[in-house]
C-alpha cells in the first residue's frame, strides 16, 4: 500500500515538474511574438516613450488597418503566396518521381545522382547570391517572380528528394506488386497506392519548401527591384529606414504575415513528426 502510494505521489510530482517545464518552454518561444503584438497594439506616440511601458495605455487596432495603406501589404502577401506556392508545386512535381525511382531502383548513375543531391543540400542560395545574380542577368530574369520560383524550387529539391525517398523506401514493395497484378500502370500505382501512404513525407516536404520560400530574404532582396513586386520579407523591412523605423507598422505587418503560416504549420503538426521520422531513421 505504502509503496504504491509513494510511487503514485512521485509520479504526480514528476508530472507537475514536467508540465511546468513544458509551459516555461512554450512561454519562452512565444513571448517575443506576444511582445510584437503588444507593440503593434500601441498608438504611435507610445512606441517611442522613455522608459517604454509594458502595455499600451490605449489599445488600438489602428496599426493593423493603416499598415495596408502605408505599404502595399496586399501586394506583398500576394507575391509571397504566389512565389512560395509555385515553388512548392515545382518541388513536389519534380521530387516525387525522382525520390520514388531512387528508392525503388538500382540504376547506372544512381550514386552520382545521390552525390548531386547531397552536395546541393550544402549550398544555400545566400552563399551563391553573386553567381545567381550574374546568371539571372544573363537570362534576363532579374526582377521576375519566375527567377525566385526556379531558385527556391531548385534549392529545396535536395531536402525533399531525401525525405521522400526514405519514405518511399519504407513502404513494402509487395503492396505495389499487388497493384501491378491488378493491371495498374506504374504511374497509377504511384498515385493511388504509394502517395497516400507517403502522406506524412509529402506534407513534410511541402511545408519545408513552402516555409523556406515564404521566409527567404537575401535572394529576393537582391533580385527584385520593383517595390510592388517585393515579397513580404523584403517589403516589410523597407519600413526599416536609415534613420527611422516605423515599428508599429512593421510589427502589425509582420503579424499579418506570420499568422497564416503558423496556422498552416499547426494544422499539419501531427504529420510533421511522422514525416521527419523517416528522414531521421534512414
Amino acid at each position: 500500500m505504502t509503496m504504491a502510494g509513494a510511487s503514485k505521489k512521485r509520479f504526480t510530482g514528476k508530472k507537475v515538474s514536467l508540465a511546468i517545464s513544458g509551459w516555461v518552454i512554450g512561454a519562452v518561444f512565444i513571448l517575443p511574438y506576444l511582445y510584437m503584438l503588444i507593440t503593434a497594439l500601441k498608438p504611435k506616440a507610445e512606441i517611442t516613450k522613455i522608459p517604454i511601458d509594458y502595455l499600451p495605455s490605449q489599445w488600438t487596432w489602428k496599426n493593423f488597418t493603416e499598415v495596408w495603406h502605408v505599404i502595399p501589404l496586399a501586394g506583398y502577401l500576394k507575391s509571397s503566396f504566389f512565389i512560395a506556392f509555385a515553388a512548392t508545386v515545382l518541388v513536389l512535381v519534380f521530387a516525387v518521381p525522382a525520390a520514388y525511382y531512387v528508392a525503388r531502383n538500382k540504376f547506372r548513375g544512381r550514386t552520382a545522382f545521390l552525390m548531386l543531391v547531397l552536395i546541393t543540400q550544402m549550398f544555400s542560395p545566400t552563399a551563391l547570391v553573386v553567381g545567381i545574380f550574374r546568371e539571372m542577368i544573363k537570362f534576363h530574369l532579374v526582377d521576375t517572380y519566375f527567377s525566385l520560383i526556379l531558385i527556391y524550387g531548385a534549392f529545396n529539391m535536395a531536402f525533399s528528394i531525401w525525405i521522400l525517398s526514405s519514405f518511399f523506401a519504407s513502404i513494402p514493395v509487395d503492396i505495389e506488386e499487388a497493384a501491378w497484378i491488378d493491371g495498374a500502370t506504374r504511374f497509377g500505382t504511384l498515385r493511388r497506392v504509394i502517395l497516400p501512404l507517403a502522406l506524412p513525407g509529402l506534407v513534410t516536404a511541402f511545408i519545408f519548401t513552402f516555409i523556406a520560400a515564404w521566409n527567404e530574404y537575401v535572394i529576393a532582396l537582391t533580385l527584385i527591384s520593383t517595390p510592388a513586386r517585393e515579397p513580404l520579407t523584403v517589403g516589410l523591412t523597407s519600413l526599416i529606414g536609415q534613420y527611422q523605423i516605423q515599428w508599429n507598422f512593421l510589427f502589425a505587418g509582420s503579424l499579418i504575415a506570420i499568422i497564416p503560416v503558423v496556422i498552416l504549420f499547426a494544422s499539419i503538426e501531427k504529420y510533421l513528426v511522422g514525416g521527419l521520422t523517416a528522414g531521421s531513421v534512414k
Partner: protein, 296 residues
C-alpha cells in the same frame, strides 16, 4: 533500399529523375560555377568581366583588414550556435515527448519561431534590445539589475552574443522536432525505463536512448550547420554586421563587399572560400560522427 522485380521503362531513370537533375544543374550548379569563374576574373563596378586575372581577387581579399577577425568570428558563430541548439533541443524534445496538460499548445507555441520569417523574428529582438525604447532595459531596471540602460546592440561583444542567442532561438524548434521524430522510434518501455531519475536514469539515457537518437541528431546537426553558416537575415536585420564590421560573418561580409562596396570579384572570392569552409566543416563533422556507417 528495396529493389523488387520492377518493370523498367524504355528510357530508364531519365523521365523520373531528369527534371530534378536539370533544375538542380541550371539553378544550383550553374551559379556555383559562375561564382568561381567570377572570382577568377577582373570585374568592373558595373559587373562586366574584363578578362581573367588569376588569383588576384583572392589576394585583395586576404589583404582585407576585416578578414581574419571575421573568419574567427564565423568559426565561433557556427560552433556555439550548433552546439547550444542541440544541447537545448535534447531536453526540450524529451519534455515535449512526455504527456502533460497543455502539451499541444506548447508544441504549437514552439512552431511559431520556425514558421515566422527569420527577418521578422530578428526585428522583434532588435526592438526588445533597443537602447532607448527596449523592453529588456526596462525589465532589468525594474528588477534593479541595471541602473543605466544599455545599448545592447551598440556594443560589438554584447551584440554578437545576442545575435547568437537569436540564432539559437530560431534553430531550436526545427531541431526539437527532428529529435521528437527520433524519439517516436524509441520504444515506449525503453523510454520509461530511461526517464531521468537519478544517476542510474542518466546512465540509461546515455547508453540506450542517446544511441537511438543518433541518426536524428546527425541529421539536425548537419542541417543546422549549413543553415547557421549561411545565416544572413539575423545579422543583417539586427546589426547589419555593425558596429563597423564587428559582427559580420563571412556570409554577410561577402554580401557587403559585393553589394555595398561593388567589388564583385572580391566578393565572389569570399563566397568561394565560404563554400570551401562549409565543405571542410561538413566532411570533418561527418568523419567525426561516422555518418557513413549509420547511413548505409
Amino acid at each position: 533500399m528495396a529493389t523488387g522485380s520492377i518493370r523498367r521503362s524504355r528510357f530508364g531513370a531519365l523521365p523520373w529523375i531528369g527534371p530534378a537533375v536539370v533544375l538542380i544543374l541550371v539553378m544550383v550548379v550553374w551559379p556555383a560555377i559562375e561564382m568561381i569563374r567570377t572570382s577568377l576574373h577582373e570585374i568592373d563596378q558595373t559587373g562586366i568581366a574584363k578578362g581573367w586575372n588569376g588569383i588576384s581577387n583572392f589576394r585583395t581579399l586576404i589583404q582585407n583588414p576585416d578578414l581574419p577577425q571575421t573568419l574567427i568570428r564565423t568559426l565561433i558563430w557556427v560552433t556555439v550556435i550548433v552546439v547550444f541548439t542541440v544541447l537545448i533541443s535534447l531536453p526540450v524534445a524529451q519534455i515535449l515527448h512526455g504527456k502533460f496538460p497543455g502539451r499541444k499548445v506548447v508544441r504549437y507555441a514552439i512552431i511559431v519561431p520556425w514558421a515566422a520569417s527569420v527577418v521578422m523574428t530578428a526585428t522583434i529582438w532588435r526592438w526588445m534590445l533597443d537602447g532607448f525604447y527596449g523592453i529588456f532595459n526596462r525589465i532589468l531596471q525594474d528588477l534593479g539589475i541595471l541602473k543605466e540602460p544599455i545599448d545592447w546592440l551598440g556594443n560589438p561583444n554584447l551584440a554578437f552574443i545576442f545575435l547568437m542567442v537569436v540564432a539559437i532561438f530560431v534553430s531550436v524548434p526545427f531541431t526539437t522536432y527532428v529529435i521528437l521524430a527520433g524519439l517516436t522510434t524509441v520504444p515506449d518501455d525503453i523510454l520509461e525505463a530511461g526517464a531521468i531519475d537519478g544517476a542510474n536514469g542518466w546512465k540509461r539515457y546515455k547508453e540506450i536512448i542517446f544511441p537511438l537518437l543518433r541518426p536524428a541528431l546527425l541529421v539536425s546537426a548537419v542541417i543546422n550547420l549549413i543553415n547557421v553558416f549561411n545565416s544572413f537575415p539575423i545579422i543583417w536585420a539586427m546589426t547589419g554586421g555593425g558596429p563597423g564590421y564587428s559582427t559580420d560573418t563571412t556570409t554577410t561580409l561577402a554580401y557587403k563587399i559585393s553589394f555595398r562596396d561593388q567589388d564583385i570579384g572580391q566578393s565572389a572570392a569570399m563566397a568561394t572560400i565560404n563554400f570551401i569552409i562549409i565543405l571542410i566543416f561538413i566532411s570533418f563533422f561527418l568523419k567525426v560522427s561516422k555518418w557513413r556507417e549509420t547511413s548505409e
